[in-house]
Symmetry: C2
Amino acid sequence: MKTDALATLLGLDDLAGHLVDVEVALGQALRSDNAYLSDPGLRVVEGGGKRLRPVLTIASAAAVAPDDFWDHRVRSGAVSVELVHVGSLVHDDIIDAADERRGVPTVNHIEGPSHAILVGDYLLARAGVEAARVSKEVAEVLAQTIADLCDGQSRETVDLFNVDREVDSMLRSVRGKTAALMRASCCIGALCTGRTGEPVDALTRFGEAFGMAFQIVDDVLDIVSTTRAMGKPVGHDMKEGVYTLPVLYALRSKGGDRLRSRLGGLIDDPASIAELLELVKANGAVEQALEMARAFNRTAADALDTLDDSPVVAGLSKLPAAYLEWALSEKTAGTYTLVG
Amino acid sequence: MKTDALATLLGLDDLAGHLVDVEVALGQALRSDNAYLSDPGLRVVEGGGKRLRPVLTIASAAAVAPDDFWDHRVRSGAVSVELVHVGSLVHDDIIDAADERRGVPTVNHIEGPSHAILVGDYLLARAGVEAARVSKEVAEVLAQTIADLCDGQSRETVDLFNVDREVDSMLRSVRGKTAALMRASCCIGALCTGRTGEPVDALTRFGEAFGMAFQIVDDVLDIVSTTRAMGKPVGHDMKEGVYTLPVLYALRSKGGDRLRSRLGGLIDDPASIAELLELVKANGAVEQALEMARAFNRTAADALDTLDDSPVVAGLSKLPAAYLEWALSEKTAGTYTLVG
């Protein structure tokens, strides 16, 4: 979703302005006289990304302190979660031996893996500095979130090529690798306003559920979208041995045995991948996965029930469904939907 | 130095007991139901190391709060600096493609580089959690220190095989890669007692100067010690293109041209390394480097002048010289000394 659509949905007139402030602060956080670290660091941070996590931080702050939420603390919180996002991607790209991300060459590819280790560490460290400037609570949530990302990523690694991967185990991995940082983005937004207790907990639950739905839709898109719409080859996860929710459901469906006999190892030719994607799509597994995404979206919306009504709370409660419907529609030319 | 010698020098009767508490807390910080992260994490943490950084944290706390310094905050501070030490070594071992450290196989060697990236990230993240539990100040110092480690490490990388490496540039690298964490260990010890201002600053200056001397002596040992005494091949830095202080002084000495013509690329045969080590030792470069270590030791001792007199302050002021004299004597069979 574009920033103006998000601003309208969330009732945040100044969202674009706040995001510009975040952008400036991101640059300041990384600028140094050490070009070896700050040049690639700035390149990956400025290389785009939708800034969804800073939006969540800003909107969460506004949800608990509608009248006067925007200050340097919320900005630091937003900067810290985005730096964790980017820093962890730099390390993920080494682990995945990825040459490109969103069409842009990775640090791993341009500068090499050793260099990328230090750049990732630097981004994560600068995130910690930003968080610590707000409060010990924010610093602890941020550091624990980095540990959670490691947990989720490692659970995925352990289950690579495992056709018997359990759905619960897969969901636990998603909770760490994706939901933890979206949970932290919301939690930190609320904490940055000085709130404690239930309002913070409500936004924390919201962010986690949104994160779960977000990853499931992302996993569905890797099955049902096209290379052209995604800007990268589809079926990539399956090829690399990451069996996501639709694949696990397909393996358990009526036609699952045929799929099972083909998975379990690296698949290199595009024709095989195309064929396997059709197998996954054949028996309702995609719809089953989308149903779980819908359930997480409902959990997210329900989590906000304890907050005082306001336009931003109302907007946030609609955000997961609206955001993911937009992504699904955009990347599948309207073939798939979350509505209904 | 053994713990009982350190306890006597520092006038800290319970040092061994405090270190046992730290050891238990290190284990608790890493234990989890994710064996992929915690097994190698615990292995490297329990794999030894002298726990010098926790000793500095404990002694620094005692220096500013002699009567009642030992509590969970100081323990968390000590745990956090040790976890940063170990976590950064796990990443360094990937960058250096090191199979062993202190005779123990590295995570990079046993579990492989991708796994080691996550283990290092996990150790650094857990360090951040421990620090944040104390205070935002401690969390910020710790996070900034991780950024400083990246800075120092990257400056070393940039100058690999550079025979024209400037002494100032080399010292700046040492300030980041070694002195920053020893500085933080002392600073955090003082901060954990709730002190602010000059007592904290004094211990910060002390830790940094000790760290500089510490690295210089370590660099000298790589030139003048023996494989047998070190438990690893000497001349390793030179072989790998890291030209440390004694090498830079030797390059600038009368016989420096001969050395210069031989350096600048990887050196693979042990006979050449032995010959080059003799060249470095020939013209007073080692003594010149040791003179700089002595100067940093004096700076460290002087830094504590503003603190109230106490046995622990007196002991700390003697620690850098005593500790490094012990290391030098032990590893060169008394051939080299800092005294005089």
